[in-house]
């Protein structure tokens, strides 16, 4: 089970030790995260809650290799990602991380199929293999009949499902979801949460989700709270 603390656990998929992140704004130093220690095991559904500005998204960015900590180490599946160069970190993200954003962030000029296909273009796959994988991912999220639809032709819930399909299509090590239900109505939000739960329960995916919503957090197996840069 995921936990916060400084005791190393070799079986943890994601392992943060002494992670800190600060920014400099003018003459002021901002400490967004201080001494964060966290272990997440494979196949867990973990929620991160906290008020605005508490550092939730920053922590997610660090774990996803989008940003680098000012102190501490982050290991994912044995890889110390804090030691990777910018280019290698980009390649690492393509292999290990699936991102789901609050605003879906699909490419508006591409069809659902093409959007989901994007991560696969970086892999040495044939066109037929890519087509099969995209079809499977869209089937998993219940949008097998929306292949050719552009994002504007889909509802918010459907767009987020396409985003989830894009996140899982390359079979990443874990998913990072930043407020995935923040822009959805209750019904659509429940569908997305059910889908994430399904991915964990049926496919053994590991999910880290940032949310403001206690009902969303309740679907996770473990919930951590961030406040003033400290994880509890």
């Amino acid at each position: 089970m995921a936990r916060v603390g400084s005791t190393a656990r070799s079986e943890a998929l994601i392992c943060l030790r002494g992670v800190a992140k600060g920014y400099r704004r003018g003459s002021e130093d901002l400490h967004v995260l201080t001494d964060v220690n966290l272990d997440v095991e494979r196949g867990e559904f973990v929620a991160l809650m906290g008020p605005s500005g508490s550092g939730k998204s920053t922590l997610l960015n660090l774990i996803g290799g989008l940003d680098v900590p000012t102190a501490g180490t982050i290991r994912v599946a044995g890889d110390a990602i804090t030691a990777l160069s910018r280019a290698r970190l980009t390649a690492w993200r393509a292999r290990h991380v699936g991102f789901v954003f609050q605003m879906y962030n699909l490419i508006p000029v591409l069809s659902a199929f093409r959007n989901v296909e994007l991560p696969l273009l970086l892999l040495p796959l044939s066109k037929a293999d890519r087509r099969e994988r995209v079809a499977t991912a869209l089937r998993v999220v219940g949008l097998a009949d929306r292949l050719d639809h552009k994002p504007r032709e889909l509802s918010g819930g459907q767009q987020q499902r396409v985003a989830i399909a894009r996140a899982i299509v390359a079979d990443p090590t874990f998913l990072l979801c930043d407020e995935p239900t923040g822009d959805l109505d209750r019904h659509s939000a429940d569908e997305i949460l059910e889908m994430l739960h399904h991915l964990v329960a049926e496919f053994g995916k590991t999910v880290l989700m940032v949310t403001h919503d206690p009902r969303a957090a309740a679907r996770a197996q473990v919930t951590f709270h961030l406040d003033k840069g400290e994880l509890s």
Binding site: N61, L66, A94, F99, N105, L118, L121
Partner: protein
């Protein structure tokens, strides 16, 4: 190739903007190609001039005549292989605006001197047998719809009166720079029918072919020395030098072209650079997401550059193709630019120019996109 749909989709994201930017390229490249064509038209005489030919005129001016008696004297000079002569007629056909060069030529030597012009043997035999015979360039014949056998009346402006010619042939060129707008008729017909008061035994200029082993400069010197201190002093110069002096008289075309070309390129840079910068700005979120899911800095750089180059190529091909089609119609000035065509090298240069401008205009936005910090960009969403 697998990323082409992404590039194409981005180009088609705002069709009107892409089309307008490509259209600005097309217009600019059309203008560039026209400048190249005009430059080539001005310089065609230099390109077409024979490397082994000397042009001999009166030392005072090109319009002053020389005695016909010089022909045999020039022929005897060392290094001279052949001599012909011609006269500028300066007439108009039907209307004063129908101007084109008419030469009264020596029937016995002219064809051999200008071997680059292709004339049917039967037509030439008829030229030799008919004193009123004339031969027209293919472009000239096409301009006025003349056919072999037609009677062509020319109103003389120097040699006054109406002169009637029998068109017996049409000549072609052997290379694109050959002038196909000339009208030739027999010099003996002119000299035997000179209006009253015109001095006899004078011609306009001599063309001299030098022997293969002769030095052109030396032969020029010999000709001028031969007739020095006479009543009719000569100026002998290579055909290329003469053609270049004509171009020089029209002003510094090269500088003018460079100036216009530079303005065109600079304007294009501003237009395309602004378009691409706007395209990158409005897609910051998408580019950040692409980077988040594993697309590297170089890919994003290449993506933006590919879009810029795509617009440049689209506009460049359209502009160049339009210019080519336009120039295929021939001289639009009615005789001022007899050889009016876009050289292949000019078309290729135009396409490279388009790609160069596309690259330069896209580089700054592409670098900006490549340097985009994902975490910072995502925080702004």
């Amino acid at each position: 190739m697998r990323f082409l749909p992404l590039v194409a989709a981005n180009l088609l994201r705002k069709k009107a903007r892409t089309l307008l930017t490509a259209a600005s390229f097309a217009v600019a490249l059309f203008l560039f190609c026209l400048l190249v064509t005009i430059r080539a038209a001005f310089n065609q005489g230099i390109d077409a001039a024979g490397a082994d030919r000397i042009f001999v005129t009166n030392r005072t001016s090109l319009i002053q005549p020389l005695p016909l008696a010089y022909r045999d004297q020039i022929l005897k000079l060392p290094g001279v292989e052949a001599v012909t002569y011609a006269n500028w007629f300066g007439g108009v056909y039907q209307d004063p605006k129908n101007f084109f060069p008419q030469f009264a030529i020596d029937k016995d030597t002219y064809r051999d001197m200008y071997r680059e012009f292709r004339i049917d043997d039967a037509a030439w035999r008829e030229f030799l047998s008919d004193r009123t015979a004339a031969i027209a360039g293919a472009a000239l014949a096409e301009r006025f719809g003349w056919k072999v056998g037609d009677r062509v009346p020319i109103q003389g402006t120097i040699f006054t009166g109406e002169w009637n010619f029998h068109l017996v042939g049409i000549y072609e060129g052997s290379k694109p720079t050959d002038d196909l707008t000339q009208f030739w008729f027999r010099s003996d017909y002119l000299l035997e029918n000179l209006p009253e008061g015109y001095p006899d035994g004078l011609i306009g200029w001599y063309a001299v072919r030098i022997a293969p082993d002769a030095d052109l400069v030396e032969v020029c010197k010999r000709i001028d020395e031969r007739f020095a201190n006479s009543a009719w002093e000569t100026r002998a110069q290579s055909e290329k030098a003469l053609a270049a002096s004509f171009v020089k008289q029209m002003g510094n075309i090269e500088t003018l072209m460079l100036a216009v070309g530079a303005v065109v390129v600079f304007t294009l840079l501003l237009v395309t650079g602004n378009t691409m910068a706007g395209a990158v700005r409005e897609r910051t979120a998408e580019l950040a997401v692409l980077k988040a899911i594993g697309y590297g800095d170089r890919f994003v750089l290449g993506l933006v550059l590919a879009e810029s180059l795509g617009i440049a190529l689209l506009g460049g091909v359209a502009g160049t193709a339009f210019a080519k089609a336009f120039t295929l119609g021939g001289d639009p000035t009615g005789g001022l630019l007899p050889v009016f065509y876009l050289p292949d090298g000019g078309a290729v240069a135009a396409l490279f120019l388009a790609l160069g401008v596309g690259f330069a205009a896209g580089l700054a936005p592409a670098l900006q996109a490549a340097r985009l910090d994902v975490a910072t960009a995502l925080r702004r969403l």
